[in-house]
Symmetry: C2
Subunit: 221 residues, 2 copies
């Protein structure tokens, strides 16, 4: 299994965590994406990468010739092919709750702060850095605010988003929490989210796969 | 089963199609969302709706007291609780392909053109209508361009996104195709996408659930 990964990407971080939680060995393929290279051109628009991933985004996972894109579908695939430890509960309402929390992070929140969106605000709309920062803050506050309400006071919430084992929602919470803490709003206004974030970061699967620990991060070179 | 729906929402349209394809009866609850009412205030920020859906978005599905949000998780729930007719193939790589196409539409594309995002561009950034239109065109071209490459020439593509029966990817293609044709780019530059869109719209499950046919659409009142 090969994972095309780029250290600062919250999306690539999600899949690294999922592979680590499931104990799946893989070969990392380091590519340079938008806004993260030291002035270098993005690898994601090269024909050989576009042939794998026409959306020109990281990550891409290749398993026995199957080319897999989009992080939640990749996690669903890993869940189906490597069921244990599970990233989803067994009951349909519980699975729906976990997936909904994952989507609040990925579809509703992370999608509005990707490198390609920030590039558009910057280069095409010519917005000031401050305006871009307010944009990130607004969507992060809205996304984490919704997640906080889904977690706080719900009896299904435990040490993690759903019970006492980490799963798909925790992965998405942490990977976007990293982005939010780095670029915009911190997690302090969202105590249930922050408590789960801290519980996750105490685990090697979340800590060792963090962007700060990646070999392609210039800080480690 | 109750579906909180609002006629112009591409997201609510997705779930209406899924319920129709599976032949599931439900009670529609008509709510007014952002930008679509005839000058009326949104129902989505009222406390009783926020208690169901803290993200303040449509749709919400309630099944036997289980409150379900986010369209792809709702479709996964329906697939698990009402397996036939299936919205996903049986093999994990096929399921991953269908889910990835669904996510290209929902997470990468639709998320950038929702009422709340257009409101932000308009009200907080003060952008001209033309600039908002270019924004929609850009993301739609990018999203449908990626989907076109995932479909065209892939032997798994049939009359629909994956084989010859409609599923989760087709639902997301059509629901966003409706938005794209109405507000921004048409589908003509994307022949594989357009062919599948037309095949879907020939089916009652897609045509009868269309925003133009909804009882809460003022055109029908």
């Amino acid at each position: 299994m090969q994972l095309y990964t780029f250290f600062p990407s919250g999306s690539a971080y999600r899949v690294r965590i999922a592979l680590a939680l499931k104990g799946i060995d893989y070969e990392p393929v380091y590519v340079v994406g938008g806004r993260g290279g030291a002035g270098g051109a993005s690898d994601l628009k090269k024909p050989e990468y576009l042939a794998l991933n026409p959306s020109a985004v990281v990550p891409t996972l290749v398993d026995n010739g199957h080319v897999l894109t989009q992080t939640i579908p990749i996690m669903e695939y890993l869940e189906e092919t490597h069921p244990e430890p599970a990233l989803l509960p067994k009951d349909p309402p519980g699975r729906a709750r976990v997936r909904a929390m994952a989507h609040v992070m990925v579809s509703d929140t992370h999608s509005l702060g990707t490198a390609r969106v920030m590039n558009y605000l910057d280069e095409k709309l010519g917005l000031q850095k401050k305006t871009g920062h307010e944009w990130l803050q607004y969507w992060n506050q809205r996304g984490f605010g919704a997640l906080e309400k889904m977690l706080a006071g719900n009896p299904a919430t435990g040490a993690f988003c759903h019970g006492d084992t980490p799963g798909m929602a925790d992965i998405c919470l942490v990977a976007h929490g990293f982005v939010a803490e780095k670029f915009a709003v911190g997690l302090k206004p969202f105590p249930a989210v922050k408590g789960i974030y801290d519980n996750c970061m105490a685990l090697a699967a979340f800590a060792d796969t963090h962007p700060d620990k990646q070999p392609d991060n210039p800080a480690n070179q």
